[in-house]
C-alpha cells in the first residue's frame, strides 16, 4: 500500500494507522495525527484502517509565535 506521510510517499505493509506509525519509528513519540485532513485521536489509531493513497499527517510540538 502506498500512503503519503507528511508529504512523502511511503510503501507500507501495515493496514492500521497505529502500525504504520510503529513502522516509521514514532513509537513513544508525542505526536498527533490526521488522515485525509481529519483528526485521528491517539486512542483510535490502532483501529484506523488506511487505504491506498491516503494522506497521513504526523505533527509534533514545535516553536511557534
Amino acid at each position: 500500500m502506498r500512503i503519503l506521510v507528511n508529504g512523502v510517499w511511503r510503501e507500507s505493509g501495515a493496514a492500521q494507522l497505529g502500525a504504520v506509525l510503529e513502522e516509521l519509528g514514532y513509537r513513544d513519540a508525542v505526536v498527533s495525527t490526521a488522515v485525509n485532513g481529519e483528526f485521528v485521536a491517539t486512542g483510535v489509531r490502532a483501529h484506523t484502517l488506511l487505504a491506498d493513497g491516503d494522506r497521513v499527517e504526523v505533527l509534533a510540538p514545535m516553536q511557534g509565535g
Binding site: N6, A29, V31, G64, G65
Partner: protein, 257 residues
C-alpha cells in the same frame, strides 16, 4: 492579576518560542521575560529526527503554561483540525486561533476566524482569537464564546508597533471586561508600554525578542516596559491636548518688562 478563562497570571507578557538562534537562547529569554505563558505550534515530525520531542522537553522543563496556535492555517477546516490535534498533544483547551486571509500582511480572515471560533467554543475550547481591531468582528467573536481578544498591533514580524492606537482605545472602551492581548507587530519595548498604557491587558511578543541582538536582554526590557505601561495605566495618564498648559503657576508672576 490578569484572568484568562479563569486562570490567574501575574505576568502581562506572553512570549513566542519561534525564531531564536538556539534552544538555549530561547530558554534564557523565557526566564528573563518572566512570562508565564508561551506560544507553541505543531509541525510535521520525522520519525527519525524527532526535533519536536526535544523542543517539548525543553518547554516542560521551563514550567510555563503553553498557548498552542493554529499558525499557517488559511481555512476554517484546517484551523479546527489543527486545534483538535493541539488539544491532544498539549493537553490544554486553550487555542490561539489564527485563520490567515492574506499572505503579504498575514492579516486574519475575520470571516473564517469567527466561524472557526464558533465551532471551537462550542466544543469546549478556550479560544484566543488573533484578530484585527475591528469592533464588529470583536462583537461577533465574543458572541461566539470568546473570552479573550488578541488584536494585532501590526503585521506579524513587522516590528512596526501599534498601527491603530485609536482602534485599540475603541476596543478597550467597548469591551471593558474582556482581556485584550495585543499580538503581533511590536518591535521595541516602548510599543509594549504604549499598549499597556492604552489599557490593553497584555502583549504577546516573539520576533522582537527572538531576533534581537541579545534576546534575553530584550526580554528583560520588554518585561520592564510591560510593568511600566500597566503601572501608568493604573495611575491614570493625563489627557493629551493641542496647546501648551503651563505647569508653573501663572498667578504671582513678576512684572519685569
Amino acid at each position: 492579576m490578569l484572568q484568562l478563562y479563569g486562570t490567574s497570571v501575574r505576568s502581562r507578557l506572553l512570549l513566542g518560542t519561534a525564531r531564536y538562534p538556539s534552544p538555549a537562547v530561547l530558554a534564557e529569554a523565557v526566564r528573563a521575560s518572566r512570562a508565564e505563558i508561551v506560544t507553541v505550534s505543531l509541525r510535521r515530525e520525522s520519525g527519525g529526527e524527532r526535533s519536536g520531542q526535544a523542543f517539548w522537553s525543553l518547554i516542560r522543563e521551563l514550567g510555563v503554561r503553553v498557548l498552542p496556535n493554529t499558525a499557517g492555517c488559511h481555512s476554517v477546516k484546517e484551523a479546527v483540525t489543527t486545534a483538535h490535534m493541539a488539544r491532544e498533544v498539549f493537553g490544554t483547551p486553550w487555542i490561539k486561533l489564527e485563520v490567515i486571509g492574506e499572505d503579504d500582511t498575514l492579516q486574519p480572515d475575520v470571516f473564517g476566524l469567527t466561524e472557526a471560533a464558533r465551532i471551537l467554543c462550542g466544543e469546549g475550547f478556550e479560544v484566543f482569537p488573533y484578530t484585527t481591531e475591528d469592533l464588529v468582528v470583536a462583537e461577533r467573536l465574543i458572541a461566539a464564546g470568546c473570552g479573550v481578544l488578541m488584536p494585532w498591533g501590526a503585521p506579524i514580524g513587522s516590528g512596526r508597533g501599534l498601527n491603530n492606537l485609536f482602534g485599540l482605545h475603541a476596543l478597550r472602551a467597548h469591551f471593558p471586561g474582556v482581556p485584550l492581548i495585543v499580538d503581533a507587530g511590536l518591535g521595541v519595548p516602548s510599543h509594549a508600554a504604549q499598549a499597556l498604557e492604552a489599557g490593553c491587558d497584555a502583549v504577546l511578543i516573539n520576533s522582537a525578542v527572538a531576533q534581537a541582538g541579545n534576546p534575553a536582554l530584550m526580554a528583560t526590557a520588554f518585561a520592564q516596559a510591560v510593568d511600566a505601561g500597566r503601572t501608568a495605566y493604573e495611575a491614570g495618564p493625563i489627557e493629551a491636548r493641542d496647546f501648551a498648559a503651563p505647569s508653573t503657576p501663572v498667578v504671582g508672576t513678576a512684572l519685569l518688562r
